[in-house]
């Protein structure tokens, strides 16, 4: 067999029976397009950072950085102006915390149910429905918080004054509802990806379904679950419309979630649509607060990556 081939090759004088390689231009075009697609988001991020730095830098040349970070009075447009960002940070953290208290247990609960308990038919109906929840415009959620949740909270509040018209509690609660699908859907994906063989092994050792879910599937899916929660936190930190509508526009450093408070995003939105002259210190505050928000999100992402590296269980 091989001898006939080699003799034929020798006879024809050609390099062989294999087709000579030809450049595939279509392949190259596609590759360029794909690189461009991935570059868009990377370049956008870099662009935002570059755009943030000069105005934020100019701001910090006028306002002391320590005073900005530790000051407890945020009144950038008043005279005399005061640039203590803590009330905004406090508002953001308060609303985010409330949102997570709602979204993490409910979102992970829904994920465990869909991945480990629900049968195929239920999952097929439930998951798309859940994801519809993620598609509702946040302005709708904002009015839902202001016009539905707050009045209900006020009417059922057992003692004392109850929530103010604008309050962190209703905004955070509704924001939590909003990010449930994000957490549930991503966590469910990563739990469903855990190999069936691991579940079978656990069942064969006499585990209940709950034990399989919490002791085998959950730890094996941890990196995806943490990623889901982190994305939920990022959405909560960055969410603007709900807090702008339902949490009020007054910077307020308080631990009382029944009071109104302004978040960093709500301030940026309010100041951004105002008529601050470009280049004024008031205008630059927008970028300073934006930069801080960016750093907070970044730090949280880095922390979560370290956390996952430490605790995840890698299956093949």
């Amino acid at each position: 067999m091989s001898s006939t081939l080699s003799s034929r090759r020798a006879a024809s004088g050609s390099p062989g029976f294999l087709k000579r390689s030809q450049p595939r231009y279509g392949e190259k075009v596609i590759k360029v397009l794909l690189v461009a697609a991935s570059l868009v988001s990377v370049l956008t991020t870099i662009g935002i950072v570059i755009a943030l730095i000069p105005p934020a830098g100019e701001f910090f040349s006028k306002v002391d950085f320590g005073e900005f970070l530790t000051g407890t009075n945020w009144a950038p447009l008043f005279k005399p102006a005061s640039f203590g960002v803590l009330p905004l940070v406090g508002g953001t953290l308060m609303v985010t915390l409330i949102a997570l208290l709602v979204a993490v247990p409910l979102g992970l609960g829904a994920a465990v149910y869909l991945s480990e308990y629900a049968n195929k038919r239920v999952r097929k109906i439930f998951k798309p429905l859940l994801e519809v929840l993620a598609g509702i415009p946040t302005v709708v959620y904002g009015f839902f918080a202001l016009k539905a949740i707050t009045p209900v909270l006020q009417s059922i509040w057992p003692a004392g004054d109850g929530p103010q018209i604008f309050n962190a509690l209703a905004a955070g609660f509704v924001m939590g509802i909003m990010i449930i699908p994000t957490i549930a859907s991503l966590a469910e994906d990563s739990m469903s990806a855990v190999p069936r063989a691991l579940r079978d092994g656990a069942f064969a050792l006499g585990s209940s379904r709950m034990q399989v879910s919490t002791r085998v599937v959950f730890p094996a899916a941890l990196s995806g679950i943490v990623a889901a929660v982190v994305l939920g936190i990022s959405r909560a930190l960055g969410e603007t419309m709900i807090v702008a509508i339902a949490a009020g526009g007054q910077p307020n450093l308080s631990f009382n979630p029944l009071e109104g408070m302004q978040t960093m995003t709500a301030f940026i939105a309010a100041a951004g649509i105002g008529d601050l002259p470009t280049g004024s210190t008031g205008y630059q505050t927008i970028f300073a607060v934006g930069a801080l928000l960016f750093v907070m999100t970044l730090v949280m992402n880095l922390l979560s990556i370290r956390l996952v590296r430490k605790y995840r269980e890698v299956y093949e």
Binding site: N119, K120, P195, A197, L198, R199, D200, G201, A202, F203, A204, L205, G206, S207, S208, Q211, R215, V216, P219, A220, E313, V314, Y315, E316
Partner: protein
Amino acid sequence: MTPPSDATGGTRIPQVAFRSAPSLAGPVFEVGSLSVFYGDHEAVRDVNMTIGHRQITAMIGPSGCGKSTVLRCFNRMNDLVPSARVAGKVHYHNEDLYGRDVDPIEVRRRIGMVFQKPNPFPKSIYDNIAYGPRVGGFQGNLDDLVEETLTHAALWDEVKDKLKTSALALSGGQQQRLCIARTIAVKPEVILMDEPCSALDPIATAKIEDLMTHLAREFTIIVVTHNMQQAARVSDRTAFFTADVDDAGVRHGRLVEYDETERIFSNPSDQRTEDYISGRFG
């Protein structure tokens, strides 16, 4: 049709009977007219067999003959397949394994299972062994139990210095022995093995076979295997399954012959068995 033991075993005092130590006399399993359905499809039809105490029973046969399906009836793993349905009699020490009050979790603590592909949890070696006792509410000293179990599974010397490292760092053969160890840590009476060596090389396979022979002093073992030499080497009794096509054209698994291993391999009574073990088909 229903044998008299069905009425007494299944419903009368199942919990009490199940928690007491099973009597050593008599067969461990009695299977009668067992059929398994996946949806409307009858995957296995009319299996009758008796599994003896502390014996190694091998189940052999070509792919798709239903031997793994039958194996999974013994610890109710088929419960986890939504479309699966089991009909007929599966008695464990005269008690209906599928009785209404029988808890499948309790069943699986008494009847453990080792799978085709090693499936250690992505946890440490120690935690793999400790998993079963922990979920079962084990109260004693876990360290002792882990050492005792690993020694029992002839794995202790190989892993004693790396109990806290991931089980996935072990070789395939070690992983499979770890899975066997993990199973015996729960102290079951029966160990089901579903082609436990099919993913392993000959040396690792030999180690598992040694272990099986060793464990058969204390455990009843049922092993599904594609390897006929393995069945001949380790088992006391062998069941030969094949896939049949009935008059309606439905393909289903059948138990052809079940006998002493020696007899199956030297003087089988069915032509199909002889054809299979002599390599003429399958």
